[in-house]
C-alpha cells in the first residue's frame, strides 16, 4: 500500500491535472465526460418579482424623491430582474422620520411580549414563503439553490424566531442591568447573504425595541423588498421597518443622518473604516462586521478525507463570497502533498453552473464588478509567482462564473494571502509546528474566523485559544446558528451578532 502511494505521488508530479491520488491508480477519473448529471433546475415560474420597486417607508412602497433608478441583474444570465429606486438623502430622511415616529408613538409603547409576537409572525411568514425566497435569492445573487434553500432562508427564519423570544426577556440578558432600546438604527447589509444578513440585523434590533432603516446591497435588493411585503403582511406597525434601496451614496446618507442612534454595517473592511471615521466625534453606537482571511489549519493527525470536505465547504460555499471563508489553507508538511492531491480531485467534481440547478455546487459570481475583481486577483497571484490550479470542468458561457481555484507556492506576504478576494480562490501554505501554524494564521490584519482539523481534542483547545478570531470551527467549517455569536477581532470588525451577545449593540444598559 505504502509503495503504491509513493508510486502515485511520483505520477502526480509528472501530470498533476490528469491523475487521481486514489490508491486505485489504474482507475483514471475523467471528470469532464463521465461526471455529468442531468439538469435538475428548480422552477421559478411561481416567483413574483415586480418590474420595479420603490422604497418601503412608513409601511408603504413610496416613490423616491428623485427619479433615479438602478437595475438588479441575474448574474447567471445577465438579464435584468427588476428596477429599483436609488435612494437620496431626502429618501433616507423620510425613512428616518418614519422610523423615529414609529419609535416614539408605537414601537416603544408596546410591551416586549407584543413586540415579540410580531417578530414571531415574521419568522413564520418567512418559513411559509421559504421556497419563493430561496429561488429569488439564487436568481438575484447567483448562489446555488441548494444553499439558499437549505441555509440562507431557513436560517433567516430561525434568527427571527430566536430573537422574537428575547423581546420580553431582556431583563435577564445582562446581569445587574436593565435595558432600554437605542432608538433608530441604520443598517447596511452586503450582497453575499441578502435575506440572512437582513435577519441578523433586523431581528435583534426589533426585539430590543428599536426601529430600523435598512439598505440592502445594490446587486441583491429583491429579497429585502419581498421582506417589506412580509412586514406589511405581518401587520407590523408602520415605520418600524423601512427599506431604502441604493448604493454607496445612499449608505453614506444613512451613516451621516443626525437622527440615527446606531449604525450596523456588514461589508468590506475598507468601507467599514470609512464608516467608523464618519462616525468619529458623534454619540452614535456602531457595530461593524467586516472582511476576513480565514485560516484553515489542518494537522497531520486530522482525518484527511473529512478535512478535504471541510476545506471545500470552507472556501467554495457560496462561491467563496463569505467574509469568514476559509481562504487560507495551512497544512502540516507531512500530509501536504497527499492532501493537496485529494483536494484537487475533489475540486474537479464540483459542478459550476446554473444556480437554480439542484446539482450545482458553485453558482455565479454575484456581479460583474466582483467577477472582475476576482480575475484581477488571479492575475496578481500568478504575477506574484504562485502556481495556479483551476478545475477542468466547463462553465456556462453567459453569466459571471469562476472556476474553483487553488494557489500553491505562495508566501505569507503575497497579496493573495493577505487580502480578501471574496471568491472561490484558495491559497495553500504549509507549516511544521503548531506554533508556526498559529503565527501564520494570525499574520493578517483580519481576525474573523478560522478552522482547525485534528483528531486530538487538547490540540484543538490549545490552538483555538491562540488563533485571534471571533469564530473557530474545529473539525467543521461555515456553521451558523442564531444562538451563536459571530464577529471579528482586529480589522474584521467591532461587536457581535447572534446569540445573547448580539443583543448588546441594540440596547443601552441602565443600573437596575
Amino acid at each position: 500500500m505504502a509503495d503504491q502511494t509513493q508510486q502515485n505521488t511520483a505520477e502526480i508530479k509528472d501530470e498533476p491535472s490528469k491523475k487521481p491520488t486514489s490508491p486505485n491508480a489504474d482507475l483514471k477519473l475523467d471528470f469532464n465526460s463521465f461526471w455529468e448529471y442531468s439538469a435538475a433546475p428548480e422552477s421559478s415560474d411561481f416567483v413574483e418579482i415586480r418590474k420595479s420597486y420603490d422604497h418601503y417607508i412608513n409601511g408603504n412602497f413610496t416613490a423616491p424623491e428623485k427619479d433615479r433608478t438602478m437595475k438588479s441583474i441575474n448574474p447567471a444570465t445577465e438579464e435584468v430582474l427588476t428596477e429599483f429606486a436609488e435612494g437620496t438623502s431626502e429618501d433616507v430622511d423620510k425613512a428616518v422620520k418614519a422610523a423615529r415616529k414609529a419609535y416614539n408613538k408605537t414601537w416603544s409603547k408596546l410591551s416586549g411580549r407584543e413586540r415579540g409576537k410580531y417578530i414571531y409572525r415574521i419568522a413564520r411568514i418567512i418559513q411559509e414563503k421559504a421556497r419563493e425566497l430561496a429561488i429569488i435569492e439564487s436568481m438575484d445573487g447567483g448562489k446555488p439553490i441548494r444553499e439558499s434553500r437549505d441555509v440562507d432562508i431557513p436560517l433567516a427564519a430561525a434568527y427571527f424566531f430566536y430573537y422574537a423570544g428575547w423581546a420580553d426577556k431582556l431583563d435577564y440578558a445582562f446581569p445587574g442591568r436593565k435595558t432600554e432600546p437605542v432608538g433608530v438604527c441604520g443598517q447596511i447589509i452586503p450582497w453575499n447573504f441578502p435575506l440572512l444578513m437582513l435577519s441578523w440585523k433586523i431581528a435583534p434590533a426589533l426585539a430590543a425595541g428599536n426601529t430600523v432603516i435598512l439598505k440592502p446591497a445594490e446587486s441583491t435588493p429583491i429579497t429585502a423588498l419581498k421582506f417589506a411585503e412580509i412586514c406589511s403582511e405581518a401587520g407590523l406597525p408602520d415605520g418600524v421597518v423601512n427599506i431604502v434601496t441604493g448604493a454607496g451614496q445612499t449608505g453614506s446618507a444613512i451613516v451621516n443622518h443626525p437622527d440615527i442612534d446606531k449604525i450596523a454595517f456588514t461589508g468590506s473592511t475598507e468601507v467599514g473604516k470609512i464608516i467608523q471615521k464618519s462616525l468619529a466625534g458623534t454619540d452614535k453606537k456602531f457595530t461593524l462586521e467586516l472582511g476576513g482571511k480565514g485560516p484553515n489549519i489542518v494537522f497531520e493527525d486530522a482525518s484527511v478525507d473529512q478535512a478535504v470536505e471541510g476545506i471545500i465547504n470552507a472556501i467554495f460555499f457560496n462561491q467563496g463570497h463569505v467574509c469568514c471563508a476559509g481562504s487560507r489553507l495551512l497544512v502540516q508538511e507531512g500530509i501536504a502533498e497527499r492532501l493537496i492531491g485529494k483536494l484537487k480531485d475533489r475540486m474537479e467534481t464540483l459542478i459550476v453552473g446554473d444556480p437554480l440547478d439542484k446539482n450545482t455546487d458553485v453558482g455565479a459570481i454575484n456581479s460583474k464588478a466582483q467577477h472582475e475583481r476576482i480575475k484581477e486577483y488571479l492575475d496578481i497571484g500568478v504575477s506574484e509567482g504562485a502556481t495556479m490550479f483551476q478545475t477542468n470542468g466547463s462553465v456556462p458561457e453567459k453569466g459571471y462564473f469562476c472556476k474553483p481555484t487553488l494557489f500553491t507556492d505562495v508566501g505569507q506576504s503575497n497579496r493573495i494571502v493577505q487580502e480578501e478576494i471574496f471568491g472561490p480562490v484558495l491559497t495553500v501554505q504549509t507549516f511544521r509546528t503548531p506554533e508556526e501554524a498559529v503565527q501564520k494564521a494570525n499574520n493578517t490584519p483580519y481576525g474573523l474566523a478560522g478552522g482547525i482539523w485534528t483528531d486530538k481534542g487538547s490540540k484543538i483547545f490549545k490552538v483555538s485559544q491562540k488563533v485571534r478570531s471571533g469564530v473557530v470551527w474545529a473539525n467543521t467549517y461555515n456553521k451558523f446558528d442564531p444562538t451563536s455569536p459571530f464577529g471579528g477581532y482586529k480589522e474584521s470588525g467591532v461587536g457581535r451578532e447572534g446569540g445573547l451577545h448580539g443583543l448588546y449593540p441594540y440596547v443601552n444598559l441602565l443600573p437596575s
Binding site: K273, G281, V472, A474, D481
Partner: protein, 287 residues
C-alpha cells in the same frame, strides 16, 4: 537652614518594568494646586509612545495566557503593595495640594478598587461566557478574550484613582496597556510604577508615560499596534481625534468621562467587557 536637606525624587516613566527617562531628555515642571513647582516630569514624545506600545505588545502574549486565578492574585498583590505604601502616596497627594483627608481617601479607594477587580478575573468569563444551544449537532460555546494593547488616556480630574479605575479592569481582563498620566498631576501615576514594579506584574503589562497630551495622544490612538483606546478626556475635539485615528485599524474606543472617580458605579464588570472580544468555538458532537 533646616537640619537636613530633603532628597527630592526624579520622576521618570515606567515602561517594560523599567524606569527610563523620555528619549528626548525633555521635562516639564509640575506645580501643586497653589502654583508652586514641586517636581519635573518627563515630557514624553511620539517615539516614547511607539516604544511603549512595542513593549506592551511583547508582553501581551504572556499576560493574556496567565490563568485567571494568577491574574487575580497579581492584582491583589498590587493592592497589598499600595497598602504598604499608603503613607508615601498620601503625602505625595498632599504635596500636590489635596487635603490630608481627601488624599488618604483617594489612596484607600484605589486599594479597594484594585481588590474589587482582582476578584473579577476568574468570574467575568463565567458571567459573560455562554454555552449556545445550536440546532445542529455541535458543542458551541462563547468566551471572552482580551482585546490586546489598550491605550489609556487620562484627564486631569484625578491624580491616582483614575489610573487605578481604568487600568484595573483593562489588565484584569488580560490586556496590556500604555497609560498617558494626568498631564497636570502625573506624579502619583508615575510613582505607582514603583508599586507595579514591586508587585508580580510582568514588565510591559502596564506602561506609564507623562507629558503633554496634545503631543502624544495622536500617536497613541493612531498606532497600528494598539487595539483599543480608553479615553477619559471629555473634550469634543479630543474625542473626534481619537475616533478618527481609531478607524485606521478598526480600534475599539471607550470614552469614559467621569465626574467623580470615587463613584461606586465605576465598580462594574462591564468595564472589563468593554475590552474583551467574544470567541465562539464549534465542536462536532459524534462518535
Amino acid at each position: 537652614m533646616p537640619d537636613r536637606i530633603e532628597v527630592l525624587k526624579t520622576y521618570k516613566t515606567y515602561v517594560g518594568g523599567n524606569f527610563p527617562r523620555s528619549e528626548s531628555g525633555r521635562t516639564y515642571p509640575v506645580n501643586n494646586r497653589d502654583g508652586e513647582n514641586i517636581a519635573n516630569a518627563c515630557r514624553c514624545t511620539r517615539k516614547d509612545v511607539r516604544d511603549a506600545v512595542g513593549t506592551a505588545r511583547s508582553a501581551f502574549g504572556g499576560w493574556s495566557s496567565r490563568s485567571a486565578y494568577n491574574r487575580g492574585q497579581i492584582l491583589y498583590r498590587i493592592a497589598e503593595m499600595l497598602e504598604g505604601r499608603k503613607d508615601q502616596f498620601t503625602e505625595e497627594l498632599e504635596k500636590a495640594g489635596l487635603k490630608r483627608k481627601d488624599a488618604l481617601r483617594e489612596v484607600e479607594l484605589s486599594i479597594d478598587r484594585l481588590i474589587y477587580f482582582a476578584g473579577w478575573t476568574d468570574k467575568y468569563p463565567q458571567v459573560f461566557g455562554t454555552v449556545n444551544p445550536v440546532a445542529s449537532s455541535h458543542f458551541n460555546f462563547s468566551s471572552p478574550e482580551a482585546t490586546g494593547v489598550v491605550g489609556i488616556i487620562l484627564d486631569d480630574s484625578s491624580n491616582l484613582l483614575s489610573l487605578i479605575s481604568t487600568m484595573a479592569p483593562v489588565i484584569a481582563g488580560g490586556n496590556v496597556c500604555v497609560v498617558i498620566a494626568p498631564e497636570k498631576q502625573p506624579l502619583s501615576a508615575i510613582s505607582f510604577g514603583e508599586v507595579l514594579h514591586a508587585s508580580d506584574v510582568p514588565g510591559g503589562v502596564v506602561n506609564i508615560l507623562s507629558g503633554f497630551r496634545d503631543e502624544v495622544i495622536d500617536t497613541l490612538s493612531g498606532h497600528m499596534n494598539v487595539n483599543a483606546v480608553l479615553n477619559t478626556v471629555d473634550n469634543p475635539e479630543v474625542r473626534k481625534l481619537i475616533d478618527e485615528n481609531a478607524s485606521i485599524s478598526v480600534k475599539r474606543v471607550k470614552h469614559l468621562p467621569v465626574e467623580s472617580w470615587s463613584d461606586e458605579s465605576l465598580e462594574n464588570p462591564y468595564l472589563i467587557i468593554d475590552f474583551q472580544e467574544t470567541k465562539t468555538t464549534w465542536h462536532p458532537v459524534g462518535v
